[in-house]
Assembly symmetry: C2
Homo-oligomer: 231 residues x 2
């Protein structure tokens, strides 16, 4: 998209590691501008919808077990379009994780602001894992935690994505805890940050148990233990 000359000139003074990121960014900006100005052939698909489909695929099967063919089928676009629009499997995956984190964080925020109390929100948050085992679809866990589990720290970029996403989740949960403390449902002397970490960890454990085949009664028992720990 950028000319080779411009590419070469601008990269002279830049550390190698930064170049790819920088030019990805510039190209995206240029692309956005060109699309807005109706220059060139328009896309035949909705990038948001396609990204959503890819996200669900990765969510269900993980990164390695999801093939390009799987992605092309669910996203309903051609190979070149995928590479053109999303850059490849790994880049697409990272965008999916980011999208998941966005949606999940927003869902948490909405849930908290609409809940009758902070405590009730936390209860609903934990109980939501029961939905995973009630339906006929097999539990998929949380895409962010699945990613943490699959990649661990082996890929630094993905590790950073994961850490950042978890931090966003925790921030909402800490807000919920603090609200519950103001409302008198959690002792005010408890460390809100620690409780939030505990809730993240507990949710992660619950989802894994659901994946491992635990039934609703078992999960409910665990949830009651988690709630008790908040008192």
């Amino acid at each position: 998209m950028l000319s080779d000359a411009a590419h070469c000139a601008a990269t002279q003074a830049m550390p190698v590691a930064s170049r790819q990121i920088f030019f990805d960014f510039v190209n995206r900006m240029v692309h956005k501008y060109l699309m807005a100005a109706n220059i060139g052939r328009p896309l035949e698909f909705d990038p948001d919808l396609a990204l959503d489909a890819a996200m669900h695929q990765f969510w269900s099967k993980g990164y390695e077990s999801t093939s390009m063919q799987d992605l092309l089928a669910t996203m309903n676009l051609s190979k070149s379009s995928l590479y053109q629009a999303f850059g490849g499997k790994q880049q697409l995956f990272r965008q999916c994780v980011a999208r998941y984190a966005d949606q999940f964080t927003q869902m948490l925020r909405d849930g908290l602001s609409g809940a009758p109390s902070g405590r009730k929100f936390i209860e609903g948050f934990l109980n939501s894992v029961l939905n995973d085992v009630s339906g006929q679809a097999q539990p998929r866990g949380c895409l962010v935690m699945n990613t943490a589990s699959e990649f661990a720290q082996s890929d630094p970029e993905i590790a950073q994505d994961v850490a950042h996403s978890i931090e966003r989740f925790r921030n909402v949960l800490r807000a919920a805890v603090e609200r519950a403390q103001r409302e008198g449902d959690i002792p005010p002397e408890r460390d809100a940050q620690m409780l939030a970490n505990f809730l993240v960890s507990s949710m992660s454990g619950l989802k894994t148990q659901a994946k491992a085949g635990a039934d609703a009664a078992t999960l409910q028992g665990i949830i009651s233990m988690v709630l008790k720990a908040l008192d």
Copy 2:
């Protein structure tokens, strides 16, 4: 190993699905007998050591991300030997998971019987996750939970292996809880089975958090919350 004639004759009256399992069993018995009788060329490698190496490989990288080449390299044997001795990638994997569950269950049992109290054992059990983040090696989690996360319920046989392994872990933990109850460190009216489930889930969550990059202080905070829930 068995002649084709014997194979054909015996399978005539057998449902298709049972034949493979049956002949796997017979062949294993015959093989065991022949090895014990020193018939034929002896193995040039130690199957236990090789299995251990494979286990660590799967533990570090998961099933899909571990290639046959990875396995051959760490197990230090040739492709034909691997197929001859372990049957293929998936069969090898299941043996590794079983081995892990055996070792981990035994470790738990030994830890419990050697611990000064049930409560102290549980504390040590939870605190052991801190070792995962203290060393330079990246945390690998628990092979059984990793397997649950990677395969979910997609493979029935593996799902059963996972469920069975978790049950074994839980049995030891329930014994620990019951001992702590007898020793007065956990209220006797608490449901031991439920507490054991909670401990399994909590450990799983903790290990995932470790994989996601949580530091020792964060993990320690979560552990203190888990312990508080036992009171």
